[in-house]
């Protein structure tokens, strides 16, 4: 894609906005439709666009497959870690009310934020890893 000037310039402009939109969807998940799953897919889409235009090798220089293989389980651990923390605080698994001793609704807010961060990490890494696997075939 070295010769395609328009594609390169446009995607360079687009990628920051894609990531920004992903963050919007991520945090909107606290109040309405949205959340880590959808945001994770959008993040992955931004990286996939980069890989399509600038090549898989350039993309893997930024995020290596080995890093993604760590990120996938790490997201699950963040999610489950919140649950374990609520256990330690004496509540049921994933009982966010426990997370804030003064105002349970703040606890709910914090809990959703953390859990969705874990979801974002796992979903975006998984999507990207699937892309790597397919794009890297036959090489």
């Amino acid at each position: 894609m070295r010769g395609h000037l328009i594609l390169r310039v446009v995607s360079k402009i687009l990628i920051p906005f894609l990531l920004m939109f992903a963050l919007y969807v991520q945090f909107h998940g606290d109040f309405g439709p949205g959340g880590g799953f959808q945001a994770g897919v959008i993040v992955a889409a931004a990286f996939v666009l980069y890989a399509l235009i600038f090549g898989l090798r350039a993309m893997q220089k930024i995020i290596s497959p080995a890093l993604l293989e760590i990120a996938v389980p790490l997201g699950v651990l963040i999610y489950a870690g919140v649950g374990v923390y609520t256990w330690i605080l004496g509540g049921n698994f994933l009982d966010y009310n426990m997370l804030d001793s003064h105002d349970p609704s703040h606890g709910q807010h914090l809990g959703v934020l953390l859990v969705e961060a874990g979801v974002l990490l796992t979903v975006s890494s998984t999507m990207l890893l699937i892309f790597y696997t397919f794009a890297g075939r036959g090489r």
């Binding site: 996938v72 699950v76 489950a80 649950g83 698994f93």
Partner: protein, 493 residues
Amino acid sequence: MLDQLPAIIIAVPLIAAAVCALIRNETVCWLIALVVAFASFVGSATMLGQVQKYGEDISYKLGGWAPPVGIEYKVDLLAGYVLVLVSLIATAVLIYGRQSVKLEIKKNLHGWYYTMYLLCMCGLLGIVITGDAFNAFVFMEISSLSMYTLIALGKDRRAVAAAYQYLIMGTIGATMYIIGVGLLFTITGTLNMADLAMRLVPLLDTPAAISGMAFIIVGLSLKIALFPLHLWLPNAYAFAPSAVTSFLAATATKVSIYLLMRYLYTVFGFGFSIERTPIPEVIMVLSLLAIFAGSFTALFQENIKRMLAYSSVAQIGYITLGIALANATGLTGSLVHIFNHAVMKGALFMLVGGIAMQVGTVRLSDMAGAGKAMPLTMFGFVLGGFSMIGVPGTVGFVSKWYLAMGALENGWWWIVALLMLSSLLVLVYMGRVIEVAFFRERPVDAIPLKEAPKSMIVTAWVFLLACVYLGFDTSFTVGVAEQAVNVLLGGVQ
């Protein structure tokens, strides 16, 4: 601690799976998996004991949200019984399978194998423990997706094709299930099974409820591999790694049968699903077809793993037959056979794993003379075969006895005759293996055989001895099954 058990047995395997994915060292991952699986078993057994002792279901509010809004984990006798079964098999297969996993699966994938194994166990336990229709779907996907991966790890290239076939069929099944749940949700506005059961009572005759029920039952039948929806099963069992086959054969279909029972008896209720719909008749015909088509196809298999797989199709027929008999004795037979079949088929697949390791193939013709070189394995096969046939003193007899009694209660003596006839078919296909192994000489140019590793033989024999023990002392299997049937049928009549 004790009141957190329902969440612990689900969350800990999930966390351990993620940890295994990070560590990826074979020894460490195996140890983690073993400890976690055993802890799940202890947890499940404790919960079953509590339910039995206090006669009261355990209910757990996930995230502190009360049902029916929040997700409820619920352990009653039936759930506890299946939880114990799944976690017990998971633990045993881990002890059994380490050597064969090392041999059959590429070295760099060992860590991922244990990750997927734990995820699969987490999903299967989750389906059983959850009291929420949608949550059951999520766990069904967790267990199925990890199961497809496990099957694809098989040494044979055909394993990938088998996994793909299972993926397509399994996904169709799961989709049907979720469409059914969606239909029920639109008319009741709830996903909690107990709440669903209550709200469905005045709505049972509506088209939405009936079609929802049809979707759920067909979807689950695909997962159960009820004839004629069993096409994914023989290849998946035949080409998966030996340890995976033992685990899959003993747990995955059983858990789906559990879920089917939940819907038939708890959600829709005996009075509707069994007495007012043609479901028992349909299941009856399909079960009998499964028994005969499965056993008959097994007769002609050259690959003994495939042979046992077709035999599983037949055995699933026995389990669903108990549902179709529509009385307490028949259903007891079904529940007992869920446990018994898991134990005996688990043991047989474990032995076949040992044969695959030593002989190098699982073709019947390559096993000539194996009886002399691998006496423990082959005598185990004979004992397992007796149990499959239903010789008195083995578990196979106990389940068939209850099924036959259930049939006689309805005056259906012809079912009893068919059961006897099907046992003869089992005798023939198990007999073929025994004939080749004991009465044919090993070719002179064939590689010399020796017994499989101790860990494999010992676990398989523990299961075989359990087949005999549970054939005499039925206080656990029949005892719990009878109580569970009382709850299932008594709650709604």
